[in-house]
Symmetry: C2
Subunit: 214 residues, 2 copies
Amino acid sequence: MKVLVVGANGQIGKQLVDLLNESTEHEARAMLRKAEQTAEFEDKGVETVIASLEGTVEDIASAAKGCDAIVFAAGSGGHTGLDKTLLVDLDGAVKTIEAAEQAGIDRFIMVSALQANNRENWAEVIKPYYVAKHYADRALLQSGLNYTIIRPGGLLNDPGTGKIEIAENIKTGSIPRIDVAKTIFACLNEKNTFKKAFDLISGDNNIAEAIKRI
Amino acid sequence: MKVLVVGANGQIGKQLVDLLNESTEHEARAMLRKAEQTAEFEDKGVETVIASLEGTVEDIASAAKGCDAIVFAAGSGGHTGLDKTLLVDLDGAVKTIEAAEQAGIDRFIMVSALQANNRENWAEVIKPYYVAKHYADRALLQSGLNYTIIRPGGLLNDPGTGKIEIAENIKTGSIPRIDVAKTIFACLNEKNTFKKAFDLISGDNNIAEAIKRI
């Protein structure tokens, strides 16, 4: 599969691009916002494309053309304001979903957030962020795409363990970013994750086994 | 009809409550956030109920119980941050839609914003607000409710003219708040506005005639 990684310059995105790039099964196209971000990827032999989530659906569809899957791993990040939460995490995500439909790309993996589906479990301080993630996920659920919505717990930069827990409803937990990237990679072709949404934290199960038992 | 006015203490909401209260055809229940807001309404003989859009769907459904219609005229307002845009204008609106479904109230009128349906026409400075209104409107379109989505232009405190222009796509314009309130009132029982969404600005047509020609 050729996979468009949206948010390729992000912390999960970069690790996912590397996994795709090192595999024989898949290849990555890194979607980047700025031309100065491309060199780092092209030096590794990764295909890049410039497009902004604040641009049009057509821009993103054009960036995605020819890919077999899209992974939305972008996030406005903690250093920007809530304007970007609305424009990127919500509207940017939905524009990417619409771009997938427009470009005829059926497979779509969304990196969401633990419990984004359960309003009652949103921590007060990051509630506005959760609102954005929640409605982006809803748009994907209502699309005709073959989605997987992965809702990881608190993201860590710790080394990966390769061991995870997956369930429809996990109240709390955390996970290294590399294990999120590995889970996304493993989901791409795993039919058992098609049209599924689940919480993800570190756990006791091998990734390949865990996603076969969802 | 008994009409739950959500955002009854707002500038459009207050005028709508007065119109309902003065009519023989309808009556208002004013949904308010704070107990100290009730006296002003009760002095006029208006029924009040306390509920917050940041509360649960059940809270809002309970506030709506026994009403025949809901008008969402709430807005976080320009003096609050984008956290409230996400929590009130988007999530609060969608919770109200879900509350209508839960309480079995079929008729729902949304006060949206001119061109909220057209991303390409969102003014840069208020784009984040438009994102919130856009996704609230989408949720209503996707609900099973008998909706009317009214998208007024720039809101003025000028005296009303009682003359409006309505169309699916009006690029720019403004309208006094009282004329928005009168249009909402006129739409309540007007079958021609059921399951419709339209832009609204000041114009040359009587309200009653304009909404019959949508």
